[in-house]
C-alpha cells in the first residue's frame, strides 16, 4: 500500500519545507532588526516588478537551470555531483577559448561551437571523479569537491598567466569580439514587438536552458539509457543482474551532468560578462543542488525551482541595495532549503505519512 498519495510527495513536502525555510529566514530578518514583510515586498518589486527585474531573474534562473539539471541527472543514478561549481568554471574556460581564438562570422555559429566547448570542458572535468568512483571506489562527492578547488587554481593560473591581456591588472580575459555577442531578450522580444528592458542580461541561453530541461526529461523517461540510469540509481545490484554496466552508467551520467553544468557558461560568460572573469560562477554550482532538491529531481521541477531561486537572487540583490540586509541572506535561505528538502526530509515526511496512514485506515475501516 502506498503510504502517501503522489501529489503529497511531489507538492506538499517541498512546499512545507519551503515554508519552514521561509519562516526561519523571516526570524533571521527580524533578528537583525529588519521587517520581513517589507523585505518580501522589496524583493517582489525588485525581481518581478519591472521587465528589468524579470531580465535579471531569468538570467539567474538560466544559470540555475543548467546546474540544477546537472545535479538532477546525477541524482537519478544515485550519484551526488557536488562539483557543478568546478565544471561550470571549466565550461567558462571552454567558451572563452572558442570565442577568443576563432574568428566567428555570426553569433549563431559561435553559440553552437561555444555550447559544445562548454559541455566538453565541463564533462571532461567530471570524467576523472566518475572514473575514480567506478574503478577505485573513491566517493564521487569527495573527488568533485577536490576538483572544485583544483578548477579554481587552474582557472586562476590560466587567467593570470595566459589569457590576461597585457597591462591588465585583474585576472580576467580580454573582451570577446563583437561577433560572438549573444542577442538579449530585449533583441529577441523586440522582433515580435514586445518591449523588454535593454540592460537586463537575460539572453538567448534561456531558450537553450529550457530546451535542455525538455531534453533531460526525454533522456531520463523516454530512452533506454534513461531507464538503465534510473534502474542503476534504484539498485546497483539489481541493475547489475539485469546486465546493466555500472561503468557505462556512471561514466556517461557524470559526463552528461558535467556537460550540463559546463553549459551554464554560455549564459554567464558568453551572454553576460562577454569575457572570462575568475569568479564567474558565483556559487551557481551549489545553488544547483538546492534547485534540484527543491524540484524533486524532475526537469519541470528544476525549471520552476530555478525561477524561484532566480527571483531570490535578484530580490536579494535589491534588498542589499535598499536595506541593511546583506546579500548573504540568500545564502542562508538557500542553505535552509537544502537542509529541509535534502537532509531533514524525513522530519517533514514521517509525520505526514502518519497523517495519511491514519486517514486511509479510517476510510477503509
Amino acid at each position: 500500500m502506498e503510504k502517501m498519495p503522489k501529489w503529497a510527495d511531489v507538492v506538499l513536502i517541498p512546499l512545507i519545507s519551503l515554508i519552514l525555510a521561509a519562516a526561519i529566514s523571516a526570524l533571521v530578518i527580524l533578528g537583525i532588526g529588519e521587517d520581513p514583510i517589507e523585505a518580501v515586498k522589496l524583493m517582489v518589486q525588485g525581481a518581478l516588478g519591472s521587465s528589468n527585474g524579470w531580465g535579471y531573474t531569468l538570467y539567474y534562473a538560466t544559470n540555475f537551470m543548467f546546474t540544477g539539471l546537472a545535479v538532477a541527472v546525477a541524482f537519478h543514478a544515485s550519484l551526488f555531483n557536488i562539483g557543478g561549481e568546478g565544471q561550470a568554471m571549466l565550461g567558462g574556460l571552454g567558451v572563452a577559448l572558442v570565442c577568443l581564438f576563432i574568428p566567428w562570422p555570426h553569433w549563431s555559429i559561435a553559440l553552437i561551437a561555444a555550447s559544445g566547448a562548454a559541455a566538453l570542458f565541463g564533462a571532461a572535468w567530471a570524467l576523472i571523479p566518475a572514473y575514480l568512483q567506478v574503478r577505485r571506489g573513491s566517493h564521487v562527492v569527495i573527488t568533485t569537491i577536490m576538483f572544485n578547488f583544483i578548477a579554481f587554481s587552474l582557472l586562476n593560473y590560466v587567467l593570470v598567466n595566459q589569457l590576461r591581456p597585457p597591462r591588465a591588472m585583474d585576472p580576467a580575459s580580454a573582451k570577446f569580439p563583437e561577433a560572438t555577442h549573444l542577442p538579449s531578450l530585449h533583441d529577441i522580444l523586440g522582433t515580435v514587438g514586445i518591449e523588454f528592458s535593454k540592460h537586463a542580461p537575460a539572453n538567448i541561453s534561456l531558450l537553450i536552458a529550457i530546451a535542455a530541461c525538455v531534453g533531460v526529461w526525454a533522456l531520463i523517461w523516454r530512452t533506454r539509457f534513461g531507464f538503465e540510469l534510473r534502474a542503476f540509481g534504484k539498485s546497483e545490484s539489481g541493475a547489475r543482474y539485469a546486465g546493466i554496466s555500472p561503468f557505462k552508467i556512471t561514466i556517461v551520467t557524470m559526463l552528461i551532468s558535467g556537460g550540463l553544468a559546463g553549459m551554464m557558461a554560455i549564459n554567464n560568460v558568453m551572454g553576460e560578462s562577454e569575457r572570462l572573469v575568475l569568479n564567474a560562477v558565483e556559487g551557481a554550482g551549489f545553488i544547483g543542488i538546492a534547485v534540484s532538491l527543491m524540484g524533486r529531481n524532475h526537469p519541470f521541477g528544476v525549471f520552476l525551482a530555478a525561477i524561484l531561486f532566480g527571483f531570490l537572487y535578484q530580490g536579494g540583490a535589491e534588498l542589499a541595495l535598499w536595506t541593511n540586509i546583506p546579500r548573504e541572506l540568500i545564502v542562508v535561505i538557500q542553505a535552509l532549503v537544502i537542509l529541509f528538502t535534502g537532509a531533514l526530509d524525513n522530519m517533514v515526511r514521517m509525520p505526514l505519512e502518519r497523517i495519511f496512514l491514519a486517514l486511509n485506515t479510517k476510510k477503509e475501516g
Partner: protein, 336 residues
C-alpha cells in the same frame, strides 16, 4: 637558504597546520563512527566568528573560545539530528551547514558590528598570544636586553634557535592540538569507548547486538567533532589572526577532509598529513624560498591546489588504497 629561514618556514607550517589538524581530528572522530562530515568548514567558520565576536565584546578570549565551541556544537546537533535521528543524507546535511554558516556569519557580523561582515580587530588581551616556554628566547628576553628579538635569535646556537623559534612561542591552542594526537590515538585504540566507536563505523549492527546504543555513540562522536571544530575556528580568529573576516576558513575544512583521507582515518598519520598540507600553505606565502632552493619558480596556484591534487592521487590508489569506515554515510536502521 639559511638554517634560520628554514626554521621560520617550519614555524609558519606549525601555525598553519594547527587548524587543519584540529579539524582533521574532528572529522576523524565523526567518520570513524560512520557519520560523514563535509560540514567541518562551516562549523569552523561559525566558531571563528562567534569566538571573535564574544572575545571582542566580553574582552575575554576564553569566553570567546567557549562561544566558538558552543556554536559549533549547535551545528553538530543539527548534523546529528539530520543524519542520525532522521536518517537523512549526511553529505547534503554537511553541505547545508557549511552554507548556513557562510551566510549567517556575514549576516550577524553586519548586524552586530556593521563593518562589512567582519568583527573589529582584537587587541592582545582578547586574543590567544604566544606562550614563552622556559629557557626560550622570547619577547621578554628581548626587552631585558633592549635589542630586537630577531637579532637575539639570529645569534643563538642552532638548538636554541629550534627551541625558541619552532617549539616555543605558540599559543596554548597549538599545544592542545598537538597533544590531542596521542590522546586521540589512546582513546581510539586503548579504551572501550574507542573500540565501540570504531565498531559503530564498521558494523553498527554488531554494536547494537552487544546492547550498546548506536545512536548514543554516534551522537557522542558528532559532538566531539563539534568541540574540536570549535577550537579550530577559535584558533583561526583569535590566535592565528586578530578577528573574523568573511569566509576566513578559506577551504581549510575541505583541506582537513583531504588530510583525513590522506591519513586513512588514523591519528598519527593525520598529524603528518596536516603538517604536509600546512607546509604547502606556508610555502604559498613564501614562493621566493622554493625558487632560492630549486632555482625553479613554482606557481603559487599549483601550491594552493597541491593538497587537493595529492588527495585525488591517493584516492586513485596510486599511493596505497584509502578505505573509509565501512558503514560510513549510511544511517542505521534497527531491524524490526
Amino acid at each position: 637558504m639559511a638554517f634560520l629561514d628554514l626554521i621560520q618556514l617550519f614555524d609558519t607550517t606549525i601555525r598553519l597546520a594547527t587548524p587543519l589538524l584540529l579539524a582533521c581530528l574532528a572529522g576523524l572522530y565523526s567518520e570513524r563512527a560512520g557519520i560523514f562530515d563535509i560540514g567541518l568548514e562551516g562549523k569552523m567558520l561559525a566558531a571563528a566568528f562567534f569566538s571573535a565576536a564574544i572575545a571582542y565584546s566580553m574582552g575575554s578570549v576564553w569566553m570567546g573560545l567557549l562561544a566558538g565551541i558552543g556554536i559549533s556544537l549547535a551545528l553538530s546537533a543539527i548534523h546529528g539530528l539530520a543524519s542520525i535521528t532522521f536518517r537523512g543524507n549526511q553529505l547534503i546535511s554537511g553541505l547545508a551547514i557549511t552554507m548556513l554558516a557562510g551566510g549567517m556569519t556575514v549576516l550577524v557580523a553586519q548586524s552586530w558590528f556593521a563593518q562589512g561582515g567582519r568583527t573589529p580587530s582584537l587587541t592582545d588581551d582578547s586574543r590567544f598570544t604566544g606562550i614563552e616556554l622556559p629557557f626560550a628566547i622570547g619577547p621578554s628576553e628581548a626587552e631585558a636586553a633592549g635589542r630586537p628579538l630577531s637579532q637575539l635569535i639570529a645569534e643563538a646556537g642552532p638548538l636554541q634557535q629550534i627551541y625558541s623559534e619552532l617549539i616555543s612561542g605558540h599559543s596554548i591552542l597549538v599545544y592542545i592540538a598537538f597533544a590531542l594526537v596521542p590522546l586521540t590515538w589512546w582513546v581510539l585504540y586503548a579504551t572501550r569507548f574507542g573500540l565501540r566507536l570504531r565498531a559503530v563505523g564498521e558494523n553498527p549492527a554488531s554494536v547494537d547486538t552487544a546492547g550498546v546504543s548506536v545512536v548514543g555513540l554516534r551522537y557522542a562522536a558528532v559532538m566531539i567533532c563539534g568541540v574540536l571544530c570549535g577550537i579550530a575556528g577559535a584558533y583561526l580568529a583569535t590566535a592565528l589572526q586578530a578577528g573574523f573576516v568573511k569566509d576566513m576558513t578559506a577551504g581549510r575544512g575541505y583541506i582537513a577532509l583531504a588530510a583525513l583521507i590522506f591519513a586513512k582515518w588514523r591519528p598519527w598519520y593525520a598529524l603528518s598529513a596536516t603538517l604536509l598540507f600546512g607546509l604547502f600553505q606556508a610555502l604559498e606565502l613564501r614562493p621566493d624560498m622554493i625558487e632560492n632552493v630549486t632555482g625553479v619558480a613554482v606557481q603559487a596556484q599549483l601550491l594552493g591546489a597541491l593538497p587537493y591534487i595529492l588527495t585525488v592521487v591517493i584516492l586513485a590508489g596510486f599511493v596505497g588504497k584509502a578505505i573509509p569506515p565501512r558503514a560510513g554515510g549510511q544511517p542505521y536502521v534497527k531491524e524490526r
